[in-house]
Symmetry: C2
Subunit: 191 residues, 2 copies
Amino acid sequence: MNTLAYGLLSLLTHVPLSGYDLTQRIQPFWPAKHSQIYPLLARLEKYGMVSCELVQQSDKPDKKVYSLQEKGFDALREWLTVPAAEPVMRDELMLKAFCVSYVEPAVSRDLFAARLEHYRAKLLRLEDKIRGVRQLANADEAETPPYDSPFFGPYIMLNKGLMVCRTNIEWCEWVLSIIPGGTSATADRKD
Amino acid sequence: MNTLAYGLLSLLTHVPLSGYDLTQRIQPFWPAKHSQIYPLLARLEKYGMVSCELVQQSDKPDKKVYSLQEKGFDALREWLTVPAAEPVMRDELMLKAFCVSYVEPAVSRDLFAARLEHYRAKLLRLEDKIRGVRQLANADEAETPPYDSPFFGPYIMLNKGLMVCRTNIEWCEWVLSIIPGGTSATADRKD
DNA sequence: TACTGCATGTAAACCGTTACATGATTCG
DNA sequence: CGAATCATGTAACGGTTTACATGCAGTA
């Protein structure tokens, strides 16, 4: 039972999902490839944490849909009582940023401009998703789903994503504004 | 040549360092244990990227001090021209947050309160560090070291750390404020 | 026709952590 | 006297990525 295993159980609390679906949905929180997910699901089934049902489809390949079992739910509740480990963040850009002074401004400019675009695109995706969650939860703009709602978790996580994403955009714009020789094409916006 | 290898070269641009020092300094940007660093440094020396000098010490154990070589510097410049890979973030709390609705508020409250403390402590460390860098760079409050300065890189990174840390604190406080049954002992501060 | 999405799996290689191993000095 | 810091290394294990493998349906 590693963290990824608990992550899969977490996603299965809301609704039964296939290995394929789980692989897509866990990406934002705990990136993992299907080659890691499929064997893990088999193990979770062997342990009785989840059950598996083969669903036949005509237009698409058949799939295995996993549901959380009582034993898995117990394991999850137990896991939730132990404090979360410190987050681990590995960002190549942070290493590159360390020695930008040693290359021409144009080179580092490209680096931060690319990252800025990445975050701007991510922000749009997140705003879209949060609209989706609010619709499902029947919540107005600026209204939060109640604690008991299954949308509470996704909602607070999406908000974290939004806040951090905006901060990163701000940071990229600031860095671009202090790298000399900017054409101000990407590094606009003075605050 | 993996990312960690380039990270070590990056740190060596400023000043020669021992494996022990490198292990300490790379933690905030690319967490790694000494067991990974020492063999990598030996490999980097074999490739001619760094040179190694044995420094004898009387009060402390002898150490190997590594310096960046021309070949390593070339590799680094080459590496800086390719766009940085997307950051990878793995946070157990995000997985736990997903299913907080399924446990009592007190349990999730502990989770976020602990994380809030973690970020508050981190913020203090960062503020301390940025004061140190500003002193070394002879910069006033709110003044940024010039692009050519070796302090430029560390300065922009520390600022990112600060900004993201503050955002995380804000988020934790917000989450604690919307979890029902709060004693407002840890979740104070209404904005 | 070629690519993308759906869907599942295995094997090899690589990355990262934990544990094993040693030994001096300094501080409480 | 025990713990922390400095300092370097290896071995085993577990986590993660990349590559191999297959196959159908819809779209450009």
